[in-house]
Symmetry: C2
Subunit: 321 residues, 2 copies
């Protein structure tokens, strides 16, 4: 099969490799995959990943490890990307995404979906309803990550929220948080991305007059300076959500965190079922975010374009619906 393979920082190539052995997992024929900020950071050396990247994908189940699971075969699916060791205290508590020995599809110790086939454990599968087409289903994973914020914070319709960052994740987070409160603004500095935010009916914030006024500020910039901006915008005793990972260090003036008693919450993967509901109902829209759909042969252009636009997808194998 065709697969994109990372061999080190900045080194990725398209190769012909064996279809992965299922090894107790389900084999999925990947139809569409999305390029995420984390993938770009993996190319820059983040997490020291080697292998096939890609963790936003939709596909069709080709085979299952046990004959009792054959109902999944032919099912269109997305998949939770965390694979716990199944033996530790955290896995026992159902928190496999914090298992110290976990694998993460396309990010840590497990090949991902920038390939014609990928394997994942059966318990990670989520069926995709017909209301969600393949190009939308690719967004289930990042929308789930946005929904994680709803699990972590007690928000209500009075909450005043700023999302810093007008990238793919920022525009998804803005839409998800707007399901709870109308007082959500997006702050960004890319006119073409803010235009898409407007098309999604998101309010665009004026950062200047809003300093120190937000109950919650989400940093979705993917850049070290994002946390600075978030700390300027949040009110005393407010909350900053750190949503973006990046390779390298951020320099933070820590005294305002103490003096203003700010809470900072790291936020990662979230509930797939809630993301599927929001996408199926159309409350969260993703079509305007898709800036290009390319093939693996165009991977260099795809990654380059992903750095400068919202969401680039790979059309991997023929779509099933």
């Amino acid at each position: 099969m065709k697969a994109l393979v990372v061999e080190g920082p900045g080194s990725i190539s398209l190769r012909e490799v064996e279809i992965p052995a299922s090894a107790g997992e389900c084999l999925i024929r990947v139809t569409t995959a999305g390029i995420c900020g984390t993938d770009l950071q993996i190319l820059d050396g983040y997490a020291d990943f080697h292998g096939v990247p890609g963790h936003e994908f939709v596909g069709v189940v080709e085979s299952t490890p046990s004959t009792s699971d054959t109902a999944w075969i032919g099912q269109r699916v997305v998949a939770d990307i965390n694979i716990g060791c199944r033996r530790c205290e955290r896995c026992a508590a159902g928190v496999k995404e914090h298992c110290a020995n976990r694998k993460v599809v396309g990010i840590r110790g497990h090949d991902g979906a920038f390939a014609e086939y990928v394997t994942v454990p059966i318990e990670n599968l989520h069926a995709v309803p017909d209301a969600i087409d393949d190009r939308t289903a690719v967004f289930v994973e990042p929308v789930a990550a946005a929904c994680r914020i709803l699990e972590q914070l007690a928000l209500d319709d009075h909450s005043r929220i700023a999302v810093v960052g007008d990238g793919r994740l920022g525009l998804l987070i803005g839409q998800v948080l707007r399901t709870i409160t109308p007082h959500v603004v997006v702050l960004g500095r890319h006119p073409e991305k803010l235009e898409i935010a407007r098309a999604l009916d998101l309010r665009i914030g004026d950062g200047k007059q809003d300093v120190g006024r937000f109950d919650v500020v989400v940093d979705a910039t993917g850049r070290p300076e994002g946390i600075h901006r978030a700390l300027e915008l949040v009110r005393p005793r407010g909350t900053v959500v750190m949503k973006s990972t990046f390779h390298g260090e951020a320099t933070v003036q820590s005294w305002p965190i103490v003096v203003n008693e700010v809470t900072i919450v790291g936020s990662r993967c979230g509930p797939f079922h809630r993301a599927i509901e929001l996408l199926a109902s159309g409350v969260v829209r993703t079509a305007p975010l898709v800036s290009a759909v390319m093939t693996f042969d165009q991977y260099q252009m795809a990654f380059e374009w992903a750095r400068r636009s919202l969401k680039v997808l790979f059309a991997v194998q023929p779509e099933s619906v």
Copy 2:
């Protein structure tokens, strides 16, 4: 009266100045004052403070602004250091410590207690019970700051807590948290301070084998690297409390905060009534922390010694009990 006056970074001198005009506040004859880490940072330029520093103190009320308040005269008191504008939304909500226009005694826009007299609003006063002598009463403010953590976090007797920093604040926080859970350890690197921690029956942690295991880690180091250490020690989805301010920036690797979904909580001033209870009952002990009691004439040695020991006090005027 005698007062220590800060004129700029590193510039402090003992001077003869006017007794402050009460200006609607109570005049307090200061008997004992403590040197806090924040005072040392003010000397280094933190908060760009000019005037009389000092915010840990005990004294006797000499005069009150209104004849209806004369019951306070002669009362031994400590005082909350935040003075709100009384006009804004936050003051109306009773959160004067986050009033944007607040003054803070000895820290921001209001002279402090490294002087024979200090003024504070009557609503900031707390009577000191006889069970607490002057040298203990000076610790009400920092113990209150430690008690703030109890207001911010939901702790119980299963909570596993590390306090990073064996300084004055660390040893107070360790004692306060131990009133909730037996699983509190202090981590430090100063043998002479850890000896005092042991004398206070605090458990001394072995940082190496405890990495990633604590539910809560309190950074009380007062140094930029404290937050790094705290982030190593805390478990996934655990909480780091930032308790110490310092002048300058900290460099933080932000991806572990996101990947491990750590919560960071800035924590400042706390409830005086709870601190007074803990000190009056003897549950929190402070006598072993006092490394020297000096006079204003010895101020240079006092600040120098305060940088290298636990708590240096100024004996200002004769004690009343």
